[in-house]
């Protein structure tokens, strides 16, 4: 069962905190996105293993863009 | 110190405050209407593309 983690806001990826294959738990911090000169941490909504990371540092993303897929 | 011109002050307040609120309410309604119209235009555009 795949779960897509989408971005709640438009902005630039500042940091990627996980790697493919990592086990994440709900509420773990996955990314940091810069929007409106603010640093916004993005958390996991559920637990799982990181199957695919769709973005890298300095990418510009739009609201609802898929950032990561969890298995 | 000159007396406070209450009448003028209230006039400015009512017209001013009412004016801003009224203006923004009208703007809000205009946007609602505008959005509906643009969506219609876009839908027609999509339908035309679909037919072709």
């Amino acid at each position: 069962m795949s779960v897509e983690v989408m971005s709640p806001i438009s902005g630039k990826i500042l940091e990627v905190y996980v790697q493919v294959g990592d086990q994440v738990n709900e509420d773990d911090e996955l990314f940091s996105i810069e929007a409106m000169k603010m640093q916004n941490p993005i958390y996991a909504d559920s637990s799982g293993i990181v199957k695919e990371i769709k973005v890298k540092q300095d990418d510009e993303v739009k609201e609802d863009a898929v950032l990561l897929i969890l298995e | 110190m000159e007396p406070i011109p209450w009448e003028k002050a209230f006039e400015v307040f009512f017209v001013g405050f009412g004016g801003v609120f009224g203006c923004l309410v009208i703007l809000q309604l205009s946007i609602n209407l505008f959005s509906k119209i643009t969506h219609q235009i876009e839908n027609i555009g999509k339908q035309n593309k679909g037919k072709k």
Binding site: A35 | E11, V12, G16, F21, Q28, T38
Partner: protein, 374 residues
């Protein structure tokens, strides 16, 4: 040596004419520059303002005397033609994304709520002895909008320009400190946790049409606000139409920077000791703070009130963003919301009222002008 010659020499030096007031103003100017540099309080304005204050309080430089350097900038850019604030607005419009407003137009009303602060302060100022034009200029500080404050004050009460501008920009910088206590006082934890539905996608056509629509509606209703609103919207049109990238970039960068430099210097230059060191200036600072707080509170309360009638509740914190301090107030709303629920992202929702606040304040200024300018 001839005493007369010596006197002539010395009297041409600034030192001889220095007053205590001048020195006090130096201190104020240097404090503003320091706050700008060390605490990053609105440095783009406070640094040039601070320097302007310093330089105009050096006697005999006469920079503000008719025909001289700063006078020329001031006279043509602010005093006579009042063009600097509208140009800044064009730049801001080019930086602004009206998507959140278009997606949820109800939030425009939250931008109106901030005007409560403006008018409450208007009356407060009257009670403190200011005349009606001065009261309007002080009141507009509650709109939390620098250029609008400058635009209005330079036409209604130019002698208060320095104090009003410094108050406006100082409080804007202090938004992250002033707002949160008020926000927590007037809202419950439950309310602060409200999650709002994702904003719907706004099409490009809507984003291009909006500035045109807004210009037509607002300028027909309040023609006096045209210099500000019109420029705001043309900047936005540059941004959204996608085909004038160069113009949009210039408006947001070089143009607004050039104007900001001159604006800051000119405002500082109006603050000579004689003009600024009056009790009125102190009153303005207190009234300005009152204005800010009142506007914040009004926005929060209106949001709570609207929730009584809405199915999809709004998080009342975004009401506080109805003050025009863009994007600071929106950021503050986000920070406070995340204290209750770290996953709650209301930043974009808060941008709606934030940006609406700018429109609201500009409209209010237009109305003041049309009613008070003879």
């Amino acid at each position: 040596m001839d005493a007369g010659l010596f006197y002539q020499l010395v009297s041409k030096m600034g030192f001889y004419h220095l007053t205590l007031g001048n020195i006090l103003m130096w201190i104020i100017g240097i404090i503003l520059i320091t706050l700008g540099i060390t605490k990053q309080y609105e440095p783009l304005l406070l640094v040039p303002i601070g320097f302007g204050i310093l330089v105009v309080n050096l006697p005999l430089t006469d920079l503000m005397k008719e025909g001289h350097l700063l006078w020329v900038f001031y006279h043509f850019a602010i005093d006579r033609w009042d063009i600097l604030p509208p140009i800044i607005f064009m730049g801001i419009g080019a930086m602004t994304d009206f998507g959140p407003v278009i997606a949820n137009p109800k939030t425009l009303l939250l931008g109106a709520a901030a005007q409560f602060g403006v008018y409450a302060t208007f009356f407060g100022s009257l009670l403190m002895g200011f005349n009606i034009k001065e009261a309007a200029s002080i009141g507009i500080i509650g709109g939390a909008d620098g250029p609008t404050t400058i635009f209005l004050t330079s036409q209604l009460a130019p002698h208060l320009l320095g104090a009003a501008a410094v108050a406006a920009y100082s409080y804007m910088a202090l938004v992250p400190i002033i707002q949160p206590p008020i926000m927590k006082l007037l809202t419950t934890k439950e309310e602060r946790k409200i999650k709002m539905k994702r904003l719907r996608k706004v099409s490009n056509l809507e984003k291009i049409g909006f500035p045109l629509l807004a210009t037509i509606v607002i300028c027909l209703l309040v023609p006096a606000s045209a210099p500000l609103v019109g420029m705001f919207m043309v900047g936005n049109l540059f941004r959204e139409c996608g085909v004038v990238e160069r113009l949009s970039k210039t408006a947001q960068n070089e143009l607004i920077n050039i104007v900001t430099i001159f604006l800051g210097l000119c405002i500082g230059a109006t603050m000579s000791a004689q003009v600024f060191l009056k009790p009125g200036s102190l009153y303005i600072f207190f009234l300005g703070l009152f204005a800010f707080c009142f506007s914040t509170a009004a926005g929060l309360l209106l949001a709570k009130f609207m929730n009584l009638f809405l199915k999809d509740k709004i998080n009342p914190l975004i009401g506080a963003a109805g003050v025009s301090a863009v994007p600071m107030a929106a950021r503050v709303a986000q920070v406070v919301a995340r204290e209750e629920d770290k996953k709650n992202f209301i930043l974009m929702h808060a941008m709606g009222p934030n940006v609406a606040g700018t429109i609201g304040t500009a409209t209010a200024a237009g109305l003041f002008l049309s009613m008070l300018l003879k």
